[in-house]
């Protein structure tokens, strides 16, 4: 979702965000409860087919899934130890399916479509919840990930340049100060763009 949209005109791209969100919720929930290898194999095949239908290049798809492999590298041995090979395999495949489907959603759905979908979902609660505000909070959360990543990288470079590579203080203080300053600037920019209530 953080700027990883892979634009296209496939059926997967054209499917409304609400429908995709609903299908994502149903399949991931079902996968969490149904542990049969046949179901997991069929769902895995479906995920591969959907990626192919969306014409997402293999390299782009793998870039989304690879980070979870690091988690599995720690989690699978533990699961083998406490639950056996089969439980570990089921857990790993479930996680891969969930991550791959979520990645497919973000690769094929603009954030603005997600915000619109959220407004539709929250419409029944508009007396109590400001859908615009929830959407804005989501957009800002997504925006802050690359912003903070850049900020941490710059501070780590500065720390290295000063020869203070091991110092947690030299990392934490500038990151916190700059993050707060960035938040203030972002708030000011939002006000200037009319999001001032």
């Amino acid at each position: 979702m953080i700027g990883v949209l892979h634009p296209g005109t496939s059926l997967v791209h054209r499917t409304p965000a609400l429908v995709k969100l609903a299908l994502l919720a149903v399949v991931v929930t079902a996968t969490a409860f149904i542990g049969s290898l046949a179901w997991l194999a069929a769902t895995s095949a479906l995920v591969v087919l959907l990626f192919a239908a969306a014409r997402v290049p293999v390299r782009v798809a793998l870039r989304q899934v690879v980070p979870i492999l690091w988690v599995l590298a720690f989690a699978v041995p533990l699961q083998v130890l406490f639950g056996g090979w089969e439980a570990a395999a089921v857990m790993a495949v479930r996680l891969l399916i969930a991550v791959a489907l979520a990645a497919l959603y973000t690769l094929t759905t603009p954030v603005s479509a997600t915000l619109d979908a959220m407004q539709v979902l929250l419409r029944p609660f508009r007396r109590w919840i400001d859908a615009d505000r929830v959407g804005l909070a989501l957009a800002l959360t997504i925006r802050c990930v690359p912003l903070l990543a850049d900020l941490v990288r710059e501070v780590m470079e500065a720390r290295k340049a000063r020869g203070a590579e091991g110092s947690l203080l030299a990392l934490a203080v500038p990151v916190i100060v700059r993050a707060l300053r960035t938040a203030e600037h972002l708030g000011e920019a939002l006000t200037a763009r009319g999001f001032d209530d």
């Binding site: 979702m1 953080i2 603005s112 690359p146 912003l147 920019a189 200037a192 763009r193 999001f195």
Partner: protein, 233 residues
């Protein structure tokens, strides 16, 4: 004349002072801006950015009042912000959405336009600033110059009558600074630019020089910029 006693098309500062905590950053500034392109120069801490922010209502005066098109920015800030767009020094702080197209469209979310109208406006402004080919690219991965163009596009899509830019070329290399300067040159909107790049302001209609929170020179660019050069020499 409007209800506030000022004419449409005027930006009026009436005896404006502003304090940040115990520090006075603007001292009794009175100005009437009617020109199409106005530049503001001054050293760091001279109060020029505070002055510019007041036109958009981002900062309100501690003393005095600022009136834009007859609207007091302290009381009717939201209406003023619909007329006045603001471009910040660091475009990164202005980008909210992940892709270029989405970020430009984000400005219009509060305008309650029909989807087709909003999309047409976004396409037009992307075309105007040569961003069409980058429309689906991640906004935070653009170059500095492209990000500043995006920031300007995201402001202009709302069709403000006045654009205020606070040091829009400060973080850019010479090539990108020239590109942004050329972009400003081509704008039809009224323009108020705070800048350290004096050549950017040479063709403006009026230049205001700030020092220690006060206006120390206010004239055509030739005279005002000469006064500023003498001040910092």
């Amino acid at each position: 004349m409007s209800a506030a006693g000022t004419a449409m098309g005027e930006i009026v500062f009436e005896g404006v002072s502003h304090d940040f905590g115990d520090e006075r950053v603007l001292e009794d500034v009175s100005l009437v801006l009617r020109e199409r392109r106005v530049g503001i120069v001054g050293a760091n801490g001279s109060g020029k950015s505070t002055l510019a922010r007041m036109i958009n209502g981002l900062v309100t005066p501690t003393v005095g009042r600022v009136v834009v098109d007859g609207l007091d920015v302290s009381r009717r800030g939201r209406e003023v912000r619909r007329r006045v767009g603001f471009v910040f020094t660091n475009a990164d702080n202005q980008i909210v959405m992940p892709t270029v197209r989405e970020d430009v469209a984000f400005t219009l979310r509060r305008h309650r336009l029909e989807k087709a109208d909003a999309a047409a406006r976004v396409d037009a402004v992307l075309e105007r600033f040569g961003l069409t080919d980058l429309a689906d690219r991640p906004a935070h991965r653009l170059s500095g110059g492209q990000k500043q163009l995006l920031a300007i596009a995201a402001v202009l899509v709302a069709e403000p009558a006045i654009v205020v830019a606070d040091e829009p070329t400060t973080l850019l290399d010479a090539r990108n600074a020239r590109r942004i300067a050329a972009t400003f040159e081509a704008l039809d909107e009224r323009l108020i630019v705070v800048s350290h790049h004096l050549e950017l302001l040479e063709d403006f209609d009026r230049v205001i020089v700030m020092e220690g929170g006060r206006v120390v020179a206010d004239d055509v660019p030739g005279i005002a910029l000469e006064a500023y050069r003498a001040l910092i020499a």
